[in-house]
């Protein structure tokens, strides 16, 4: 018992922070979601009004949810494919491979705010790098962030920029695959594709599973890039859920409404996380 207390004493700074800044606000936000609250005056109980307005009286809520859902559906798999592909390439035994690994990893440690500002310039239709390159091939590039059809896809494209973080995890996963499996496969006559298909990918599924869960959670909380680069525009085409929630909270001072939005988001994320967990027994291999 005495031993336990010593342990708790050591972790007490973290526990205090967790209760004060995470657990208590988390629980208070449940109450706030049933109130109208503007930070300054006392919350006023409104029952289910926030949830009713969200579900039946706010088309922008559905727009934001749809856009975020589409982003999760496209950007997360795209990030996994790119990350795994890069990790496989960077797992080759080449001269100077550690330099290449560093180069591909570097973008993920650049602050996202700085990256976003740089991408605003890169994607500028008139003086941006992307359209300048396209012009070399006599292609007139789109207006990217200023075009309702392209703004969303610009953000999806940009999400691949920081794929280096997950790539490193895939790389660690690849290093963990026993060489004996490949040796046995080669003896059995398996080619590169078959080795990738039947050894590398199955053995990598625990890592893919982890990144999928984290990716989905991250995608539903996607905020910084649209906040800096598009502010939800043009014409609400990048009005992501977290951005709309932020605007409701801090621009319109609807903290109760924003709390209700946060709880709906929590339930949506939980639903998808549980769904992915439920399916994992079918496709995740732990090598037993």
């Amino acid at each position: 018992m005495r031993k336990n207390w010593t342990g708790y004493l050591f972790i007490s700074p973290w526990l205090t922070g967790f209760f004060l800044f995470t657990a208590i606000p988390f629980l208070v936000s449940v109450y706030l979601s049933f109130t109208r609250y503007d930070v300054v005056s006392a919350p006023v109980w409104v029952g289910l009004a926030n949830y009713r307005k969200l579900l039946f009286g706010d088309p922008l809520f559905w727009t934001a949810l749809r856009i975020t859902f589409e982003y999760a559906l496209i950007a997360v798999p795209a990030g996994i494919l790119t990350g795994v592909g890069l990790a496989i390439l960077l797992n080759l035994d080449l001269r100077g491979i550690s330099v290449y690994r560093t180069i591909f990893y570097l973008p993920s440690i650049i602050p996202i705010v700085a990256t976003s500002v740089v991408f605003v310039w890169i994607l500028n239709p008139q003086i941006g790098l992307v359209n300048a390159v396209l012009r070399l091939f006599h292609i007139v590039g789109p207006a990217w962030l200023m075009d309702t059809k392209w703004a969303f896809w610009s953000l999806v494209l940009m999400s691949l920029w920081s794929v280096g973080g997950s790539m490193i995890i895939y790389l660690a996963g690849l290093k963990d695959i026993p060489a004996a499996l490949y040796e046995a496969a080669i003896i059995d006559g398996a080619g590169p594709w078959q080795r990738t298909r039947h050894i590398t990918l199955p053995m990598l599924t625990p890592v893919i599973f982890f990144n999928l869960i984290m990716g989905v959670i991250g995608a539903f909380q996607y905020f910084t890039q649209p906040y800096i680069m598009t502010n939800g525009g043009p014409e609400d085409s990048t009005q992501f859920y977290a951005l709309y929630l932020f605007n409701r909270a801090w621009r319109y001072l609807d903290m109760g409404y924003a709390s209700a939005m946060a709880w709906i988001l929590f339930l949506v994320v939980m639903f998808f996380t549980v769904l992915i967990f439920r399916t994992h027994a079918r496709w995740v291999h732990y090598g037993q």
Binding site: V40, V46, G57, L253
Partner: protein, 456 residues
């Protein structure tokens, strides 16, 4: 014995450890040597904490005004603090909620109705005598009252209005054979001038814009009452006049091709403090912009030949129209030195001594809230040196200068008007559909506010 020998590898590690330690020591020394906040010059006086959002050259102007106030005082010392613009509002809200707000804050965001409704602001007319309040209501320019007054109380005292007018490059007029004396008296005529002044390359890309009317909020008051009936206090969104205004903007954009304009504009720097303002760099022949550009041109392009004129109204429309906003001072709930804050507001705004305050308005190139300041000798001298400024001064008495309607959901309204504007000029919706959608969105918001127990 061989094990105890200093190997090259061990030597490298020791060297690396030493280098790291030295670098860390240098870094810590630099950080510790950085100067802290300047000591108070008048520690015996009552401190009045002021927040503002200006930076760079504007921050210097604010500090000059503060210094002048502190020199004039024996009781209070104003301590200015520039807070980052991007989260200044959130910072203030949290400061009020936490019980430690500044005593006074300079604002320019459309926050008064919502913050007043939430009880976040102190009514400033309570700090005036009845005679002073009456005088303010009588003398202040209409836009000052439209911005600062909510439900009969004054919550923000303007310390600088913004209005918008045409900046005209005389060299381009000469090149196109146009005469400033014949400046069009209708917006349609100005459109025709714009066509003559526009330059496009062989591929049809715009290289120089003649004139491009933008923003529904600017042009709605030219065609009718705008978005708000100031007499009855009712919103009016889908009116025939607003529809005409939006149709006009959409037609102008359609003529040039929306993508064409987007591409042209995206290559320009449009910032408040930029030296590469497109008018100065020659990307626009005629451009509607705010009065602060006069000061900027004087500073960064003193040889530029240009003139200013009010944006002409549409045929049968209203003169001297446009959107207006401004810098204004608020006193938040929980401020400790309300009287000190009020003294400072009166000092800067000119409510106390208009002639003295006139000088501050010339430092920032700001439009004053009171005719008494505009007529002060020092301000007249400034206008004599910058004759282009007179155009903006002439706009001030107009009732057709309108801010965003003072409703408690003002920011939401502004956002949805902007969306309607964007949808119409991009052609995603017809102007009529865009106004229908706007009206539905706002009706829904009003309805839900009733359900939430708000008064309006």
């Amino acid at each position: 014995m061989a094990n105890n020998a200093i190997t090259p590898r061990f030597g490298k590690r020791v060297a690396a450890a030493w280098i790291s330690t030295v670098l860390l020591a240098i870094g810590l020394t630099v950080v510790l040597a950085l100067p802290g906040p300047p000591p108070r010059r008048h520690p015996q006086r009552i401190p009045v904490r002021m927040w503002h959002m200006w930076t760079a050259e504007w921050k210097e102007v604010v500090e000059r005004i503060v210094a002048r106030f502190n020199e004039s005082q024996e009781v209070y010392e104003v301590l200015p603090l520039s807070v980052p613009m991007i989260n200044a509002d959130a910072k203030l809200l949290l400061a009020v909620a936490g019980g430690d707000p500044p005593d006074v804050m300079a604002q320019w965001n459309p926050v008064i109705p919502k913050w007043a409704e939430s009880g976040l602001l102190q009514p400033l007319n309570n700090l005036m005598s009845p005679a002073e309040w009456e005088e303010f209501q009588r003398d202040a320019y209409p836009a000052v009252k439209k911005i600062g007054v909510y439900k009969g109380n004054l919550y923000g005292v303007t310390t600088g209005l913004n209005t918008f007018a045409c900046y005209i490059r005389l060299d381009y007029l000469r090149e196109a054979g146009l005469d400033l004396a014949q400046f069009p008296d209708s917006i349609e005529g100005l459109g025709a001038w714009g066509d003559k002044l526009r330059r496009v390359d062989a591929q049809g890309n715009i290289k120089r814009m003649g004139f491009m009317p933008i923003y529904f909020t600017y042009y709605a008051p030219a065609f009718g009452d705008g978005f708000y009936d100031w007499r009855t206090g009712r919103l009016q969104l889908k009116t025939p006049e607003n529809l005409r205004a939006l149709n006009f903007l959409a037609d102008q954009r359609r003529e040039l091709g929306f993508q064409n304009v987007v591409r042209f504009e995206s290559g320009l720097q449009i910032g408040l403090g930029n030296m590469d303002w497109p008018f100065m760099t020659g990307a626009y022949a005629i451009m509607a912009d705010g009065q602060w550009r006069v000061e900027q041109i004087a500073r960064y392009a003193p040889t530029l030949e240009y003139a200013t004129r009010p944006i002409p109204p549409p045929a049968g429309g209203r003169k001297h129209f446009g959107y207006t906003n401004g810098n204004f001072m608020i006193i938040p709930k929980g401020a400790r030195q309300v009287q000190g804050a009020w003294e400072f507001i009166k000092f800067w705004s000119g409510l106390a001594q208009p002639e003295r305050a006139a000088e501050f308005y010339t430092w920032g190139g700001w439009l004053p809230p009171l005719p008494a300041i505009a007529n002060a000798p020092i301000y007249r001298e400034y206008v004599r040196q910058h004759p282009q400024f007179q155009t903006f001064l002439d706009l001030l008495p107009s009732e057709n200068l309108q801010p965003i309607p003072p409703v408690p959901f003002q920011v939401y309204l502004f956002d949805r008007i902007t969306q309607a504007d964007e949808a119409a000029v991009r052609g995603s919706l017809t102007p009529e559909e865009a106004l229908d959608r706007l009206e539905q969105e706002i009706a829904r918001e009003i309805e839900s506010r009733k359900e939430f127990g708000y008064e309006n």
